[in-house]
């Protein structure tokens, strides 16, 4: 997948642990760990809202788009 989750970077900048962040967000550490390790398939807006509020950041600080390698037939060309 091309979306990279930089939650661990923001957590290190704000000096907050996974368990503490999970407790403040009222979710389990294992659930948050799924997001941190990039295994999540989807994220709710409410969760993203809570993360940005608690870490005082923007969604772009947490989520980063890294393009996949271009295919031979040029299927991943950008739209004009």
């Amino acid at each position: 997948m091309a979306i990279i989750v930089n939650l661990d970077v923001m957590m290190a900048k704000r000096k907050i642990s996974l368990g503490e962040l999970a407790e403040r967000m009222s979710i389990t550490p294992s659930n948050l760990s799924i997001l941190k390790t990039g295994k999540a398939k989807a994220i709710r807006f409410s969760t993203l809202n809570n993360i940005c509020r608690l870490l005082d950041c923007h969604p772009g600080d947490i989520l980063e788009y890294v393009p996949d390698e271009p295919e031979a037939d040029g299927a991943t060309q950008k739209l004009p």
Binding site: A40, A42, I43, R44
Partner: protein, 218 residues
């Protein structure tokens, strides 16, 4: 939803299904044992000329306007009947060995498949009762049940057709009846149950995939 009530309903339904399957298995075992014993006895005693073997077969009257069979009403007059499927007695000495052996093998195969089906069903229900519902192995059990039912349906068709042919061969042809009732030969309920089980297995698999995806949604 009351989970306890749901569990009781599921278990009651399963008891009925297992009872039905077990009766079929036991009946098949009984028929096989009886046939085996009679076969062993025949090696010791000569076959009597009035010994009949009853074979289940399906025949259609040549003309529905004049059905060859009838039953007597209580007021004495006869009512035409179309039995469709029934047991026909065939003199044993007119039946060849090879078709009989083939049908015996089919009967044994049917029994084995039924037992396999019962085991898969019990495994499925045990998983339900232990709360292990959304697991891939349950889809495997359902698929095996579906395939077993389809195989049983095909075997049943083969046996019915074989019986019809044995009757015709032993009788040297039939009067007033066409040879085989093809529609009666097809056990549509067995095919339907098998296909439904396969369908539910696929739906279950999709459900498990959606559940796994939801679990990975933070």
């Amino acid at each position: 939803m009351n989970l306890n009530k749901n569990k009781i309903s599921v278990n009651l339904l399963c008891v009925c299904i297992i009872a039905l399957i077990s009766i079929t298995v036991l009946f098949g075992l009984g028929v096989f044992t009886q046939g085996f014993v009679e076969g062993m006895n025949e090696t010791r005693e000569p076959i009597a000329h009035d010994d009949y073997l009853f074979l289940t077969a399906s025949f259609t009257p040549a003309s529905m306007a004049e059905t060859p069979d009838s039953i007597m009403a209580s007021d004495g007059h006869r009512l035409p009947i179309f039995t469709g499927k029934g047991s026909v007695g065939v003199p044993i000495e007119r039946i060849q060995d090879f078709p009989l052996i083939l049908l015996a093998v089919c009967g044994l195969l049917t029994l084995v498949i039924f037992i396999f089906l019962l085991v898969q069903f019990v495994k499925l229900i045990v998983n339900f009762n232990r709360g292990r519902i959304f697991e891939v192995r349950n889809c495997r059990y359902l698929s095996r049940i579906g395939v077993s039912m389809l195989v049983l349906a095909v075997l049943s068709m083969f046996v019915s057709y074989g019986n019809s042919q044995m009757i015709i061969d032993a009788a040297g042809g039939l009067k007033n009846y066409t040879t085989v009732n093809w529609w009666d030969l097809i056990p549509s309920s067995d095919f339907l149950v098998g296909l439904l089980a396969l369908l539910f297995a696929q739906i279950w698999k999709r459900g498990i995939a959606i559940k796994n995806e939801n679990e990975l949604t933070v």
